[in-house]
């Protein structure tokens, strides 16, 4: 629980005691989260831990039942996606970000087309597209080809850079590296670091612990809709994070890790050693 108190400057986005209930299901219970400028916060948790619900509450797709959201120190109400965008919160959804049949420029400016005398100003949009992609060092063969012909990594970088057009302060990335190859994942992680260098607060949702540890400054763990620890991105072992995600040190992942690690390392954790002893042969 080291990372939470490390920063003294006020957070750009702060969630305090956010709860959300869907019928009989308590999706979120008193969740806290803080994101500072120039910081990558990884949001991790098992399936159904409430990551998506939390992101939807921040991006305005759903509204929280209880709790407060503060943006730059002011309490705000986010009732619909437009509210979040107006505040400066941009969300990049995994598969839903791009229209395959439109070209890169068309996608970048979808929903905020630049017009002159009521007619689309393609020249201006293309110029600003190139400018944006250049400042982010993104290599795309042409801004005039349909995104269907781009690679998965290129598509993801286009989707992320697209979110920057609204000049946001917080960017939420939902599983940006899922279904990407090694090379393409590296491209996307590079871009995440450039976002941080530009002073943006980044919320990164990921199942990939290698990615999380590669770029995250802090890791916020959700479990069963509750906070289950904040960790420093670099000073924490993967096992510690996974323990927090699964809720116990006694679970299939740690047992397996203990078995495969050298005996000395397994003994260092008394609980893991004890349980791996009692459940031997599983």
């Amino acid at each position: 629980m080291t990372g939470q108190a490390a920063r003294t400057d006020p957070p750009v986005l702060a969630l305090r005691g956010v709860s959300k209930r869907f019928g009989a299901v308590q999706a979120l219970t008193a969740v806290d989260l803080e994101v500072h400028a120039g910081e990558v916060v990884a949001l991790v948790g098992d399936n159904g831990a409430g990551k998506s619900t939390l992101v939807k509450a921040i991006s305005g797709v759903t509204t929280a039942d209880e709790g407060a959201i503060e943006f730059e120190g002011r309490p705000v109400h986010i009732g619909r996606p437009h509210d979040a965008q107006a505040l400066g919160i941009a969300t990049v959804y995994q598969d839903l970000a791009l229209a395959d049949n439109l070209d890169v420029v068309g996608n970048l400016f979808l929903g905020r087309e630049v017009r002159r005398f009521g007619v689309l100003d393609e020249v201006e949009m293309e110029r600003r597209s190139r400018e944006l992609l250049d400042t982010l060092s993104i290599k795309i063969p042409s801004v005039r080809i349909p995104v269907a012909s781009l690679s998965g990594g290129q598509r993801q970088t286009v989707a992320i850079s697209r979110s920057l057009l609204g000049d946001p302060k917080i960017v939420i990335l939902d599983e940006p590296t899922a279904a990407l190859g090694v090379e393409q994942t590296a491209q996307v992680l590079d871009l995440v670091e450039r976002l941080r260098d530009r002073g943006l607060g980044v919320i990164l949702i990921s199942h990939n612990m290698a990615d999380v540890r590669a770029v995250a400054d802090r890791v916020a763990v959700l479990r069963l809709g509750r906070n289950n620890g904040f960790f420093d991105g670099r000073g924490t072992s993967q096992e510690e994070i996974i323990s927090a995600i699964t809720g116990a040190t006694d679970n299939a992942v740690t047992r397996r890790a203990a078995r495969s690690a050298e005996p000395g390392a397994a003994d260092a954790d008394p609980v893991a050693a004890e349980t791996s002893g009692t459940e031997e042969g599983q």
Binding site: P81, H82, Q85, T91, Y93, L96, A97, L98, A99, D100, N101, L102, G106, L110, G111, R112, E113, R115, G118, V119, L120, P146
Partner: protein, 371 residues
Amino acid sequence: MTGDATTATAEGPTRLVGWRRAVSLLGSLQGYIGLVLVLAFGIVTRGGTFLSQSNLTNAVGAFASRGILAVGETLVILTAGIDLSVGSMLGLASMVSAMLLVNQNLPPWVILPACMLCGAVMGLANGIGTTWLRIQPFVMTLATLSVFRGIDRQLSDNVSVGTQVAGADGKLTGNADSFQLFGTPGHNLFTGVVGAGVYYPVLAFVVVCVVGQLALSQTRFGRHVYAVGGNEAAARLSGVNTDRVKIAVFTLCGLLAGFAGPIDAAYSASADPLAGTSYELDAIAAAVIGGASLAGGRGSIVGTFVGALILTLLDNVLGLNAVSDNLQLIIKGCIVVVAVVLQRPDLLRGAADFVRRVARRGAPASTGRSS
């Protein structure tokens, strides 16, 4: 019609270079092959007659009302929807126009906007059904196909209404006379000064196509139409009001059907209660031949214009060659299949690969290309 021409390398046996060039050329000209073939067929078989101004004007004019429907249909198809009710909307609009002329003796410049409004209301109903009530477009417009036709027949009591209204002196009334300008054959678009010699159906069709194409390619609305068809969820998350776009395309489709109604009535000199039956199939066929994908997001008004020309000129050429009606139906159906197959870039790429493989097998001693 994107330039998905396959990149044929210049090396290899000369006999096959031509082949590969031909395949890549086919790739870039996909949309126009059909039109060229039909024109060539017409010129070869019935040269002078086919190319005469009056023949071409009549051919396009006869199809104009369906062509205008096809433009509206293209808008709906681009958003991954479909409108089966365009024929019924056209029928009802043509009946309304004839009744306004005969019963109310209104001038054409009042009748036309009234019919367009009538069509727009019907299209709006389609749009609301598919968005707010979340009925699939196919089902919703199948239902309204029946409803609008029923209203049409109820309104007319199943009797067709002639538009050539004679006054007390036995001549056409002034309003009926000017109403005829909407569609009576005999006026020729290509001769005489504008106003006297303009053949209205052709002019209307061309203008609708030009306006439609500009709206699709140059405006925010057009961009949103493509986005909704390409990835509706992405469009919605980008701040596009997808429901409003869908309602708009259905309403525009209805409006264009209302616009085509009086043309159809004037062309036939009467509004038949069954006018426009099965026109929706011609409209969809024109859009599909023109490169529109029913999955949405792909197609253009220019393509639909070409598709409509192919359909109408094919009709015309087959008619001039005295091909039987039954055979014409079969040929038209086959044309749709061929057009759709030709417009798949991957198919032509596959054909190019095949040619390349054959080339390699045919000349194993040539350069050792590895790709």
